[in-house]
C-alpha cells in the first residue's frame, strides 16, 4: 500500500509551507498532492514557492499532483483553476470545474472533495480521463469495498482517507472572518494564527469541530489504522495522510511501519497519541454508527 500526503488545508506562512515540503521529501511516502484547496486568498502568499516544492519532491522520487480549489465562484478563481492545468503537472480535481479546463482525454486524479459515491460515477470519471480516485471520507466501509472492486475492474487506483482532521464542509462564508466581526472580503487573514484550525466547542464545552476559514473540519483526527488490512484486502492501494503542523513526518513513519507490519495497529495508536496527547481519534465514517465514533480503546 502507498502513502499519499494530501494538500495542506490550513493557512501557513510561506516559510513554514516550504520547509514542510522540504522535510516531506525525506518522508516515507510515495505521493504528494499540494497547492491551495480551501481559499484562493491564501495562494498569493506562497504560490511562488510551489514550483520549487514540486521539483524537490520529484527529485526525491515522489509522484506529485496539484490540487484544484474546492469551491470556485469568482472570475479570478476560474482563471486560477484554468491556469493550473497549464503547469504540466498532474491535476487532482477537488471540484468538477477543473475538469472543464482539461483537454478531452487528459489524465487527472480525483480528490476526496469530489462526490464519488457509486460505481456509475467512477465509470464516468474513468471515461473522462481519471487514473486515480481518493474516495470521500464520509463513505462507509461497504461502499469503499464496492468502489475498490469497481476501481479494479476499470483500472483505477483507489485511495482512502487514512489520517487527519476530516474536511466536513466548505462554504461561501468565512467563519474565521465572522468570528472576528469581519467579512470574507475584508478578512485580514484571521485564519493565519491557527496552524491546525480553531477549536469549535459545544455548549457543554466538548471539542466538536474545527474552523478553518471557509472550511469546517472535524475536531477528531480520522485514523484508519484499525481498518488497514480490510482496506488492503478490498483493493484500496493508497492511504491519504492530511498535513498537520506538529509531528507530521513522524506520523508518516508510523503509518509506514503499520503498512510494513513492523508495528501493530494498537501500538501505532499509542505512537500517534504520543505525538500529541490532546489528539482525539475517529474512524466512525468507515465502521461506526457516526463519523465521530472511534473503534479503539478510549485514550
Amino acid at each position: 500500500m502507498e502513502l499519499t500526503v494530501g494538500p495542506n488545508q490550513f493557512f501557513w506562512s510561506a516559510d513554514r509551507w516550504s520547509s514542510f515540503y522540504d522535510d516531506l521529501a525525506k518522508a516515507p511516502v510515495e505521493r504528494v498532492s499540494l497547492g491551495e484547496l480551501v481559499c484562493s486568498k491564501r495562494l498569493p502568499f506562497y504560490d511562488d514557492r510551489i514550483p520549487e516544492a514540486i521539483s524537490t519532491l520529484v527529485e526525491a522520487g515522489k509522484q506529485v499532483a496539484l490540487t484544484s480549489l474546492a469551491l470556485v465562484t469568482l472570475k479570478r478563481e476560474r482563471k486560477l483553476t484554468a491556469e493550473l492545468v497549464e503547469m504540466g503537472v498532474e491535476i487532482e480535481i477537488n471540484d468538477l470545474t477543473a475538469i472543464s479546463y482539461l483537454p478531452e482525454g487528459a489524465q487527472f486524479s480525483v480528490g476526496p472533495l469530489v462526490n464519488v459515491y457509486n460505481e456509475g460515477t467512477l465509470d464516468w470519471l474513468k471515461r473522462r480521463g481519471a487514473i486515480r480516485v481518493c474516495l470521500p471520507p464520509e463513505l462507509p466501509l461497504e461502499s469503499v469495498q464496492a468502489l475498490a472492486a469497481k476501481g479494479a475492474d476499470l483500472g483505477l487506483v483507489i485511495e482512502a482517507w487514512g489520517h487527519g482532521r476530516l474536511p466536513l464542509a466548505i462554504s461561501g462564508r468565512c467563519y474565521h472572518a465572522r468570528r472576528h466581526g469581519r467579512t470574507k472580503d475584508n478578512c485580514q487573514f484571521a485564519c493565519e494564527e491557527d496552524l491546525d484550525g480553531l477549536d469549535v466547542r459545544t455548549q457543554e464545552d466538548k471539542p466538536f469541530l474545527t474552523m478553518n476559514g471557509v472550511q469546517t473540519l472535524s475536531d477528531s483526527y480520522a485514523c484508519a489504522v484499525h481498518q488497514i488490512d480490510i482496506l488492503r484486502d478490498a483493493g484500496v492501494s493508497a492511504l491519504r495522510l492530511s498535513p498537520q503542523s506538529n509531528g507530521f513526518m513522524e506520523l508518516c513513519a508510523i503509518y509506514r511501519r503499520v503498512l510494513d507490519g513492523t508495528v501493530t495497529p494498537e501500538q501505532s495508536v499509542n505512537d500517534i497519541i504520543a505525538l500529541d496527547s490532546n489528539t482525539r481519534l475517529s474512524d466512525g465514517f468507515l465502521t461506526g454508527a457516526r463519523g465521530v465514533d472511534w473503534s479503539g480503546a478510549s485514550a
Binding site: V72, L96, T97, N115, T121, E138, G172, V200
Partner: protein, 325 residues
Amino acid sequence: MEIVCPAGTPAALRAAVKAGAHTIYCGFADETNARNFPGLNFDREEMREGIAFAHQHGSKVLIAINTFPRAGSEAIWHRAVSDAESCGADAVILADIGLLDYAARNHPGLRRHLSVQAAAANADVVNFYASEFGVKRVVLPRVLSVPEIAAINADTEVETEVFVFGGLCVMAEGRCSLSSYATGRSPNMNGVCSPASHVEYHDEGGVLDAKLGGYTIHRVGKEESAPYPTLCKGCFTAGGKEGHLFEDPVSLNAEKLIPQLDKAGVTALKIEGRQRSRSYVAQVVKNFRAAVDALDAGLPMPEGMLARLSEGGAMTTGAYKKTWR
C-alpha cells in the same frame, strides 16, 4: 419569472397548483430524494395522479432524485429516474454525476435539471454539466451574490433557478457531512440533515439543552424556546468567543431581491419546504405569485407579506448580499 414550489404530499401539490404555482417539485417516498422524512413524499401512484392534476391545471412537475446513489444499490435510483419518466414528470432534478450520466444515456427525452446538491457555482462548470449531460437548468448553490449570479447568466445559455424562501444551507450544498459526523445520517447519503431521530431536549434546573447526536448546541432559559438543533445554526464557542459561529437560526427571504434576480437573468425562483404543511405552501405560493405577476406588469413589489411564515421570524437574504460572507 417562474415560481417553483415544494410539495411533500399530494395535498400540498394540489394546494400549490390551486395557489398559482407555475411548477411543483417533489420526490418519491424513499432515500432517492433529499427530504426523506417520515410521512412525506409520493408513492408511484400518487406521483402519477399528482402530475396529471398539475398538468390539467397548466402546472409542471419536477421530481427531485437528488441524493447520491449508494454503491451497490444504484438500481434504486435508476428505477426512480425511469418511473419519473413514466409518471409524466416534466424534468428530474439530479445531483450525482453517475446518475446524470445514466439518465442522459438511458432517458435522453427526459429533461434534466442540476440539483443544488451538485453545488455548481460558476459558469464554466454549469456549461460543462450542459455539454456532458444535457442539463437544461441548474439550481444555484446558496454561496453566490446577485452580481455573481448575473455573471453566470452572462456566460451560459443554461437556465438558472435560485432559492428565495425557506430553510437556508450555510455550507455549499451536497458538500457537507457535518450531519453524518454527528449522527451517521447525511443529506448526501440518506436525504436528511440533523435528523429528528437524533434530537434530544434536556430540562435541568431551569436550563433547557437542545442536543443533536449527544452534543448540546443550544442552551436556553426555561422561559425561552430552544430552536431546533440544526448543526450549522447552533451556538458554539471558539477562541473564547461564544455565538452562532456559522449562522444564526434564520431562514432565507429574498422577496425584496426579486427584481434584481430578474435583472440578473434568473429564470425561476425556488421555495424551500417540502416538509411544510399545505396551508403554508399555499400562502407562500400566493405571495410569490403575486410578486412575480406585479413584476411582469411593471407594478411595485408587494412587501413584507411573508415575515410571519418564517422560522422564529428571523430572516436573512443570505449570500445574495456580499457582506454575508
